[in-house]
Amino acid sequence: MLVMSGINKVYQTEQVQTHALREFNLSVAEGEFVAVTGPSGSGKTTFLNIAGLLENISSGDYQLDGQSIVGLSDRELSRLRNEKIGFIFQGFNLIPDLNLYENVDVPLRYRGFSNKERKQKIEHALETVGLSARMKHLPSQLSGGQQQRVAIARALAGEPKFLLADEPTGNLDSLMAKQVMELLENINKQGTTIVMVTHDPELARRAQRNIQIVDGQLCDFTIYQGGTVNNDTDKNAVA
């Protein structure tokens, strides 16, 4: 599903050069639920952005769903994001001037689905997150947990193979965080690959596999649901 090999990401600002990822290798198989942890500033968001085609890489190779993304045009990258990837953000990132229905509609319109298809997908997605009754509400009329559920509906509506979440529960209290986590687990059970960055070791433990990024490099602690800890730091154990 996702294969990163020898990826480097360097941020160059006027004075400082930040090596956010160094010689980063990782592969995630289809259907996995991977939790990413690590200290602040270690490169988790950078990794997620690269995985989600939001940022380009300085060097290395990245294959998404069997296709190398190196050298693709903005159009092609946008198309890939739209079709294959769903995003969930810490700050929900709902568009404040659009109601829930319209928010979920955003990626579907970029995809070019017909009116009928979109309507059906939006209604289905909102139903999945339990918010069908509030389609005409604006995001500001919802609680944080509800907003994040809408964001999940939006990420899911186009049926992407791959869901990326950066601290999806970071702005939620523990009860709401738990609901969101359960939702993500259900989605994963339906076959969607999920990579989730989190600070919360409790939530991380619920994922199939945990990886840790430290100083731009990967420390792979793969925890299978059976409970075995596989402390294999060098290469990706799962294929």
């Binding site: 995003f87 001037d97 070019g112």
Partner: protein
């Protein structure tokens, strides 16, 4: 793929942020379309054919303050001497100078009895029998004046018996028949129309009588007289420079004003129109510029305010093109709202101008042209801010909380 409805819905949830710019566009449309229309009308008026060789004709005033001078004789002598000046083609003493803004008009009837008569005012130019030649007219129908038809009117009540009139005056007085040979009446003395000229504008360029002109072979002796002289183009400046001196040498108990071409007289008559059009052009330019700045400023503001939203849209699959198109579409919708209101305002404003300033009814072309212009200016103004929006990195979606 048109995505108008969500853009429109989002806009409508933020009415307060667009209301000012919508009103600005509406007002710009209303004012610019009316102003453009007024400009066009004024320019058309200024560019009308006067039916006169303006560059070759000069005019000046002569004021006889001394009763001892025999004015009629002096004028005829002056005319003779002027005709001897190199470059002078024709000359005549005259009562008024075309396009100058001052002169006389008479009222004419097409029959003796006032009851049931058609009557019309007309600018009346009275000079020697060569008056039509001085103005360079060709007689379209009928004939020119004969020397024996010329009369001098001092206090003896002499009145010319013949006149040459413009086609416009002929059409007014005799709408159904040929005017040549017919009699017209200012008092109860019949004056025969012996010839028709195509066109000659009178003294008041803004009058409805401007095209209605009559020529008569007479000197109406008064203290205040004028001359009109037609000159070879190359000699015009030379004659203007020498004419004052020439006439004063012949008789110095009078004042002779500096001579001017009809072009100069005409420019003075149209000065207010010129000023008005210039002012309106400035107003149009400033308004359109301010509107362009306004919408560009609003877009820049919106782009900055919505950075995270733009990043999110990019993350959800919008290409750069689609982001650019979003802002171009949004401004087009705002322009559209402004235009709908603006068309109404434009018509209301035109109606007001018609009622209070005798403007004419605004032709729809001006509204349409202005709309096209405004939309182009707005999309041009928004292009760069929209492009800037499209350059926002999608990473901003995860980077800013």
């Amino acid at each position: 793929m048109l995505n108008i409805s969500p853009i429109f819905n989002a806009m409508m949830r933020n009415k307060s942020s667009i209301i000012l710019i919508v009103m600005q566009i509406a007002l710009t449309l209303a004012i610019v379309s009316n102003a453009a229309f007024i400009i066009k009308e004024r320019i058309d008026t200024m560019q009308r054919d006067s039916g006169l060789p303006e560059t070759q004709l000069i005019g000046f005033d002569v004021y006889f303050y001394d009763d001892a001078v025999n004015i009629a004789n002096q004028l005829l002598l002056d005319q003779q001497k002027l005709l001897e000046v190199p470059g002078v083609i024709e000359a005549t003493p005259i009562n008024q100078i075309p396009l100058s803004g001052s002169g006389d008009s008479w009222s004419f009837r097409n029959q003796l009895e006032t009851d049931g008569a058609i009557s019309s005012g007309a600018g009346v130019f009275i000079g020697n029998y060569n008056i039509a030649d001085v103005f360079g007219h060709t007689i379209a129908q009928g004939r020119n004046f004969r020397p024996d038809e010329f009369v001098i009117r001092d206090n003896n009540g002499n009145v010319p018996k013949v006149t040459i009139i413009t086609q416009a005056l002929a059409d007014e007085l005799f709408p159904e028949s040929n005017a040549v040979g017919k009699f017209i009446y200012s008092t109860d003395i019949p004056i025969q129309v012996i010839g028709i000229i195509d066109k000659m504008q009178g003294s008041w360029v803004h009058s409805s009588l401007v095209e209605k002109t009559a020529l008569m072979p007479m000197i109406n002796v008064k203290q205040f007289m004028r001359f009109i002289v037609r000159i070879e183009p190359k000699e015009v400046n030379q004659v203007i420079a020498s004419v004052q001196e020439l006439l004063l040498a012949l008789e110095n108990r009078r004042v002779v004003s500096p001579a001017e071409t009809l072009i100069e007289k005409k420019e003075r008559s149209y000065q207010s129109d010129k000023l008005m059009t210039n002012m309106l052009v400035v107003i149009i330019t400033v308004l359109v510029f301010i509107t362009a700045l306004g919408i560009a400023g609003m877009t820049i503001f919106n782009v900055n305010r919505r950075q995270k939203q733009i990043g999110t849209r990019r993350a959800l699959g919008a290409s750069r093109m689609e982001i650019q198109r979003y802002f171009m579409t949004e401004s087009a919708l705002i322009a559209g709202l402004g235009i709908v209101i603006g068309v109404v305002l434009a018509l209301v404003l035109n109606n007001y101008l018609m009622t209070y300033f005798s403007a004419t009814s605004l032709s729809l072309n001006y509204i349409v042209t202005t709309i096209v212009g405004i939309v182009l200016v707005i999309e041009f103004a928004v292009f760069w801010p929209a492009r800037k929006a499209s350059m926002i990195s999608p990473a901003i979606a995860t980077r800013s909380v």
